[in-house]
């Protein structure tokens, strides 16, 4: 019972995430219908033999859109996570290691960025590079960067006191070497854990941005966009909300469980070291 709980996390996490990834890959090569070009005469079709998950307001096949949307949603979330993790880690590790004034100044910037509303950030970025997936990735990525930086910085602070970092300095190693060979690898674990939870947030935030009209530009389908569009036609076409909603929850469930499992796997206490 005790062990199996941990396994449930891992098994369900891997399974769900696997399904989503497969769906995304499948969506790239094949969809039953064109996901952006619908049959205008067949709009709001309920699930049927031809359209398993029904059609939307432009007669587009919901299944095809979900499949195509998987790729877009996963790509956008992944891009966001990579963006935030890489930039956040770089900033956090560097300032955490250097400390002093650099740290203080960068922290003030990060704090400002945190107080900055995501919407304005998204608007600004969209204005500069035009509405696009990249814009969403940058806006969300920038919005998440401070949190990642904070975590990285906190980890570095605690690592800096660890003897092996001091030992590296005592050996006469340069700061760059110490950071890249000793500090960075040891930050990875908490950052991986945080990144998995970020992935879920990114998926959700994209839908919130769509809700405010700033998401991935239509007609490219994303689950978040589909869900936020579907809310208007809830009485006449419930399936437009149910299926993308279910997919988001499904993916998030998978990601969160996988994240929990990864955390357990990376937890040294679970390894029986010591």
């Amino acid at each position: 019972m005790k062990m199996s709980f941990k396994r449930i996390n891992l098994v369900v996490g891997v399974l769900f995430v696997g399904v989503v990834v497969l769906l995304a890959l499948a969506g790239c090569v094949y969809t039953p219908y064109d996901p952006v070009d619908g049959d205008l005469m067949a709009k709001y079709g309920p699930p049927s033999a031809e359209h398993w998950l029904g059609t939307d307001e432009f007669g587009r096949d919901v299944l095809s859109r979900i499949m195509a949307g998987a790729g877009v949603s996963v790509a956008v979330s992944l891009g966001t996570v990579l963006f935030a993790t890489i930039s956040g880690t770089a900033i956090g590790v560097l300032t955490g290691y250097l400390g002093g004034w650099t740290d203080r100044v960068v922290m003030i910037f990060l704090e400002s960025l945190m107080a900055f509303p995501g919407l304005l950030l998204a608007l600004g970025i969209m204005a500069i590079i035009g509405p696009s997936k990249l814009g969403v990735v940058m806006a969300l990525g920038l919005a998440y960067t401070p949190s990642v930086a904070r975590i990285a910085r906190a980890t570095v602070f605690s690592l800096r006191q660890r003897d092996f970092v001091i030992a590296s300095q005592a050996m006469g190693n340069s700061g760059l070497w110490t950071v890249t060979r000793h500090i960075l690898p040891n930050c990875i674990a908490p950052l991986i854990i945080f990144s998995t939870s970020l992935f879920g947030s990114a998926l959700l935030s994209e839908s919130a941005l769509s809700f405010l009209g700033l998401g991935v530009p239509p007609p490219a389908p994303t689950w978040g966009g589909m869900l936020s569009d579907g809310r208007n036609s809830m009485e006449q076409a419930v399936w437009l909300s149910i299926f993308p909603g279910a997919m988001i929850s499904f993916a998030l469930l998978g990601i969160n469980m996988l994240g929990d499992a990864v955390r357990d796997l990376l937890d040294p206490r679970m390894k029986g070291a010591h």
């Binding site: 005790k2 660890r162 003897d163 190693n173 060979r181 000793h182 040891n186």
Partner: protein, 590 residues
């Protein structure tokens, strides 16, 4: 007295294990304990001592199960207890003092609340009365100013103080049995002695039975009546302390006793050589923040001077927080000293250029106290050792690999070990990796900060042996820091004693150990009894006998003479050694 208070039979404790289903860590252990009696459980690390104690309180980790045996306490089998029964038993019937004083008190609670809550919850005593009892108990454990103490938080106390408070908290409930799990391993010897004396006194006064878990055989010999020796979950020997320790029947017990550090009487001090490292009047200050933007200097090391010669081992001993680590950090350039000079081969490191400093650093290597935290957990052993050579341009790849292999061989970790990670090694092996890492660059000086205090006796012996042997081979100077006098006595050539940042005595090992002068040194040496003897003659516990110190000097005592001028004066005419035996006295001339 014919009915023992606690009677353990065939106790077996197991953990689930993926490969075999379950793994017993305590195997069919049995013993009896009568009221008021004391029993020691000894054995190397991981032998299952703590598990026995926790099992008796029903506090085993979730994964562990008692898979067999019984423990009859006061006529009832403990392992048939319901959760409610356990709660009724804990504290009032069986109390436990834990190993780590630093983490055993709740940091978020006032001492007073932690002391009285047991009384209020378990004995149904009113608050006011509970307070009075707690105050009385604090007085008994010799806490200064008990009233004030009740209002304070644990972090405001030193380790020794906390351990006394713990003891008070447990004894307040007047348990019939006290289990003390390594209650003093984290403390320095002077404090250790104070706490143990107190514990014994309390149990004797209250008639409490005692189970004392320890790996320190000398302490066991001094403080308990009976002993149970554990080896990998088996009870290998049990009986009265005097008998077991002086005439051990089991090989394992003998091995434990053999591993006790001792002075090698045949060792000849190395001939004096010009010093390779000389520290002159080194002082170190820490900055303490105060108020708004204010800063205050706190002196951690007062002017200290000493020197080490090639091939020599200089030991620095002293209470916890006396500035030993700070001193080494300053030498390594990890801290900026506020004054003095550090001469390495005659050149001052403090004024040296960057390049010089780097090359000097490569020739001074450090072995840290805790091998687990001083070695990067994400690097293979081979890579860790090779890292030291990275900055040496004179070697090509093959030479480098050869050097690494040799270094690992030197510490007896040849072959496959190079591919392992740190968490795949035992404590002793880890520390050997740390030594190999220092050795690989063929340094002139190795600084070892408490290199063996995290290891248990048998492993400690291995590591020390290797260190001594390597020093003979390579002839490096060694700066050894330790609070374990046995270790120092075994390996050092000369000794420096520190107290609150001051050097209070210095001399050769024999001078300091046989004829200490400063009162603190004397206290230190007499604090803990030691086991003397050998296989043939048997072992006995003895407190060190010391000749009286020179009484005509006014010794400098930082607690009392804090701000007075001081100086080190030679105690006897200088012998053959480079530095004479000296002690700190108050400089009346100043």
């Amino acid at each position: 007295m014919n009915q023992p208070l606690l009677s353990v039979r065939d106790l077996t404790i197991a953990f689930p294990c993926p490969e075999q289903g379950s793994r017993a860590v305590v195997k069919r252990v049995g013993f009896d304990l009568a009221q008021g009696q004391s029993l020691a459980i000894v054995g190397e690390s991981g032998s299952g001592k703590t598990m026995i104690g926790k099992a008796l309180l029903g506090l085993l980790p979730d994964a562990a199960t008692v898979s067999g045996g019984s423990a009859v306490f006061n006529g009832r089998d403990l392992f048939r207890n319901t959760p409610a029964d356990w709660r009724a038993l804990r504290g009032t019937e069986i109390g436990m003092v834990f190993q780590e004083p630093m983490v055993s008190l709740n940091p978020a609670f006032r001492i007073g609340d932690q002391l009285t809550e047991g009384l209020v919850c378990r004995r149904g005593i009113g608050r006011a009365e509970a307070r009075a009892l707690a105050l009385a108990m604090l007085e008994r454990v010799l806490v200064r100013n008990p009233k004030d103490c009740m209002q304070r938080y644990p972090h405001e106390f030193s380790g020794g103080m906390r351990q006394r408070i713990m003891l008070a908290a447990v004894m307040l409930l007047k348990p019939k049995l006290l289990i003390a799990d390594e209650p003093t391993t984290a403390l320095d010897c002077v404090v250790q002695k104070e706490v143990l004396d107190l514990m014994l006194e309390l149990t004797v006064q209250e008639g409490t039975a005692l189970i004392f878990v320890s790996h320190n055989l000398s302490l066991v010999a001094e403080y308990t009546e009976r002993v149970l020796v554990m080896c990998r979950g088996d009870a290998v020997e049990t009986g009265p302390v005097k008998q077991v320790l002086s005439r051990p029947a089991h090989d394992y017990t003998l091995k434990l006793l053999d591993a006790l550090p001792k002075r090698d009487p045949d060792a000849v001090p190395p001939p004096p050589k010009p010093p390779i490292l000389e520290v002159r009047g080194l002082t170190v200050d820490y900055e303490a923040r105060e108020g708004w933007f204010g800063k205050r200097q706190v002196r951690a090391v007062h002017p200290a001077s000493f020197s080490v010669s090639p091939g020599e081992t200089l030991a620095i001993v002293g209470e916890s927080g006396s500035g030993k680590t700070t001193l080494t950090k300053a030498i390594l350039g990890l801290l900026k000293p506020s004054g003095g000079a550090i001469l390495f081969e005659g050149k001052d490191l403090l004024t040296a250029g960057k390049e010089e400093l780097r090359s000097a650093r490569r020739r001074i290597q450090m072995v840290f106290q805790d091998p687990y935290s001083s070695l990067d957990p994400r690097m293979e052993v081979g890579a860790l050792v090779a890292e030291g050579l990275r900055l040496d341009d004179s070697l090509n790849r093959f030479e480098r690999e050869a050097r690494v292999a040799k270094a690992l061989e030197d510490v007896q970790l040849g072959g496959a070990y190079a591919k392992r990670y740190i968490h795949e090694l035992s404590g002793g092996q880890r520390q050997r990796v740390a030594i190999a890492r220092a050795l690989v660059v063929r340094p002139d000086i190795i600084i070892a900060d408490e290199p063996v205090s995290a290891l248990d006796v048998t492993v400690q012996k291995q590591v020390l042996d290797i260190l001594v042997q390597l020093q003979d081979t390579y002839g490096f100077a060694c700066l050894l820091i330790s609070h374990d006098l046995g270790v120092v006595e075994q390996v050092s050539d000369r000794v420096i004693v520190m107290l609150r940042g001051h050097v209070v005595e210095e001399g050769t090992r024999d001078e300091v150990f046989d004829a200490p002068c400063h009162p603190y040194t004397q206290r230190l040496l007499q604090a803990v009894p030691e086991l003397y003897g050998n296989r043939e003659e048997g072992f006995r516990v003895e407190t060190r006998k010391l000749p009286p110190a020179r009484g005509d000097l006014r010794y400098f005592q930082p607690e009392v003479d804090g701000n007075q001028a001081r100086k080190l004066v030679p105690l006897r005419p200088a012998g053959t050694g480079a530095a004479p035996h000296r002690a700190a006295v108050v400089d009346q001339a100043a």
